[in-house]
Assembly symmetry: C2
Homo-oligomer: 342 residues x 2
DNA sequence: AACGTTTTCTGAAACGTTTCATGAAACATT
DNA sequence: AATGTTTCATGAAACGTTTCAGAAAACGTT
C-alpha cells in the first residue's frame, strides 16, 4: 500500500519549525504552550493533513479509544443504547469501537482481551456473562463500566441499569389493576441466568409484586429459549414452545415477559391461534422495542430509557479515564408504556 | 491501574531462554523455527499468559485486526451480515472491530480514519455514503471491501452485493403475476441517493421490469423519508407520509418497497386503515427481516442471503490482506420469500 | 541588580513489537 | 576435505508517539 509520503509528528515538527515534543503538547493540549506555538503547529497539522497514529500513542500514553462490548446486535434495546453512548462521545475527543459477543462467553472474553491488547482507555460492557472476580480482575487493567448487569456493591467498576425489579413490579401490578389474577412471567431458561442478569432481577420483581398483591400462591414462571445462534439471523424465541405454552394454559391469562423479544412473538402466536387480546391473553413486555408500537403489534412494555443509560455509561467511563476511582452505581426509573395488549 | 508484572515479549524470551526475535518468529509462525524452539516458546507463552500488544505490533507489522463500518445497527440485514462475517473470521487469527456510522457522512469518514489510525489490516464498509474517488484514495492506504455499494468497475477494492436490479425485477414481476397492474415502488427520497446505492439499483430493476411487462407508462415511484436520527431510537419511516400515501392512491394498488423497514410500516398502516391485504394493497419488501415472518405481519420479501454476503466479504478482505491486488466483484442471487402480503 | 518563579521550549529515552543483516551450525555435493 | 546451501538463531535498528529531565527566556520581587 502507501509508501513514502507518510506524514508523522516529525513531518509536522519540521514544517512548523518546532520540536516534536511541542507538537505532541499541542496535540494533547498539555500545559505550557504559547498561543503562537499552538497556531503554528495547528496550521501545519491542517496543511499536511496529519493524524496521530493510535498504535504509536498506545505504546506510551492513551489511545483515546473506548471499546463497547455488545452481546447481540439486533436487540432494539442495544441500538438505542448505542445512540446514547455515541451522543455523549461526540462531545469528547474519544473514539468508540464496538465488539459483538453474540452472547457467547468465549467470544466475549476474547473481545475484551482484544480491547485490552489494543490499549483502549476504557471499556463499556453491555450485559456480559462474566462473574464478579473476572470483572474485578479486568478492572485492574482498564476502567470498566457495565450496562445491564447488576453488581451494586462492586468496588472496582461502575454499573448502569434500569431498576429491573421495579420495572417488573410495575408491569405485574398493571396487569393486576386491569383485572388479571392469573399472572405469569415468561423468561429465559435458568441454566443461562445468573443473579447479576437483568432477567433474574425481573423475576425477583415479579415475585415480589405477586406477594404484595396476595397472589404468592399463583406465582408461575415459564421459560422459553431463544433459537440457537445460527449466525444466519437474529435470535428468535422458539415458536413451538410458545404455541405449546398458549395451548396448555387456562384462559384468561396474563403474561409479563422479560423482553419484547419474547413478548412480540407471544402476542403474535396468540393472535394467530385466534385468541382474543387482551381478553384471553394479556401481555406486557420489557424494553419498548420500536416494533411494539406497530398497530398490528400494539404491545405494552416497560421502557428502560436506554439512551439515558447509554449517556450515563459514557459519562462514567470518561470520568474513570480522567481519574475517578470510587465506584458509582446508577439506577434509572422504568416507565410503563400503555398499549392495547392488556 | 496495572503495574510492574507486565509480561512482554522480553519476559517470554527470558523465560524460554531464547532471543526476542525467536519469540516473534514463533508468534507469527514465520519461516525457520525448529520444533524444539517452538515448543519452548509456546510453553513459556502459555505459562506466563502472554498476549502480544496490538499497538506495538501496529508500529511495524500487522495488527491482525479488521474494521467493519456499519451504517446503522438496528437494520436486520446488518445483523445477519455481521453473523456471516464473524463466522468466517472465527477460523482466522484476525480480530474484528466495529464502527457505527449512523448513516452520516461525517461520522462515517471519521470512523474510517480512526480505523486507519489504528493500523487495521483491512476494512469492510457496509453501504457507505462515499464517492468513488474517496474510496480509491482510501484503498491506497488499506485493503477495502464494500458491501451493499455498487461500483462494479472499481479497480482498487472489492464489492459484494446481491443483484439488486434482479431482486427488484423478481418482486415487480411477482406482483404482476398475481394480477396487479397498478404497481408502484416506495423508496427513499432521491436527495440521499446516489447511483452506487442499493436503493438506486432497485429502482433501476423496478423500472426495467415495468418496461418489460408493457407497463412503462405506469411507472410510479413514491418516496418516504426515515425519521430524523433522534439518537433516541431506531430509524423508522414517517408514519404520516405513509398514511397520506395510502389515502391518496387508487385501489387496488401494489407496492414494491426498497426495504422491509418501509414495507412493514406500509403494511401496518394499511391494516390500521382497514384496507384489505392483499386485495386492496399488496406489498413486497426487500431484506426478509425476521419480523416479516410474524403472523401479524406476513410480509413477502426479497432475501439477499445476507450471511452469505458477509462470508464472502470476509473472505475477500482476508485475501487482499494476504496480497491479492486484482479486484473482485461478487453478486449474489436474490430469492423471493412468498407470504400473504401479495 | 540580583534572585527566585513561572512559562515556554527541547533532546533523548522509553514503549513492545517486527524486520534486517549477519553469523553459526548442519547438511549436501563435489 | 573442501565447498556451497540450507536451516536456525540472534542483536540491533526501526516504527511514531509520550514523557522525563532540564535549559532558556520571561517575569516579579526584593
Amino acid at each position: 500500500m502507501s509508501k513514502a509520503n507518510k506524514v508523522t509528528i516529525k513531518t509536522v515538527a519540521a514544517d512548523a519549525e518546532v520540536s516534536v515534543t511541542a507538537v505532541s503538547n499541542v496535540l494533547r493540549n498539555a500545559y505550557g504552550v504559547s498561543d503562537a506555538m499552538r497556531d503554528k503547529v495547528l496550521k501545519s497539522i491542517e496543511k499536511l493533513g496529519y493524524r496521530p497514529s493510535t498504535t504509536a500513542r498506545g505504546m506510551r500514553g492513551q489511545t483515546y479509544t473506548v471499546g463497547v462490548l455488545l452481546m447481540d446486535i439486533l436487540n432494539p434495546f442495544v441500538s438505542e443504547l448505542v445512540g446514547g453512548i455515541q451522543q455523549t462521545f461526540e462531545a469528547s475527543n474519544y473514539k468508540l469501537m464496538f465488539g459483538v459477543g453474540r452472547g457467547e462467553r468465549q467470544i466475549e472474553s476474547n473481545l475484551i482481551e482484544t480491547m485490552i491488547d489494543n490499549r483502549m482507555d476504557g471499556i463499556i460492557l453491555v450485559a456480559p456473562h462474566l462473574e464478579l472476580d473476572r470483572l474485578d480482575h479486568l478492572a485492574r487493567e482498564v476502567p470498566i463500566v457495565l450496562i445491564g448487569h447488576h453488581e451494586p456493591n462492586s468496588q472496582n467498576f461502575d454499573t448502569v441499569n434500569v431498576d429491573d425489579v421495579e420495572g417488573a413490579r410495575i408491569a405485574t401490578r398493571a396487569l393486576f389493576d386491569a383485572g388479571h389474577r392469573n399472572i405469569r412471567m415468561l423468561t429465559l431458561p435458568s441454566n443461562n441466568i445468573a443473579e447479576f442478569d437483568v432477567s433474574f432481577q425481573r423475576e425477583v420483581g415479579y415475585k415480589r409484586a405477586m406477594q404484595e398483591l396476595g397472589l404468592g400462591d399463583a406465582i408461575h414462571i415459564v421459560t422459553c429459549d431463544l433459537r440457537p445462534k445460527t449466525l444466519e439471523g437474529a435470535d428468535q424465541p422458539l415458536p413451538e414452545t410458545i404455541r405449546t405454552l398458549l395451548h396448555s394454559c387456562d384462559k384468561p391469562v396474563a403474561y409479563f415477559c422479560w423482553s419484547d423479544l419474547h413478548a412480540i412473538h407471544l402476542l403474535d402466536q396468540a393472535r394467530a391461534m385466534g385468541l382474543r387480546v387482551p381478553d384471553d391473553v394479556a401481555v406486557i413486555g420489557f424494553d419498548n422495542a420500536p416494533n411494539s408500537a406497530l398497530h398490528s403489534v400494539d404491545l405494552a412494555s416497560i421502557d428502560q430509557g436506554a439512551s439515558d443509560l447509554g449517556r450515563h455509561a459514557a459519562r462514567l467511563v470518561l470520568e474513570r479515564i480522567s481519574g475517578r476511582s470510587s465506584p458509582q452505581h446508577f439506577l434509572n426509573s422504568p416507565r410503563l408504556v400503555r398499549r392495547a395488549s392488556f
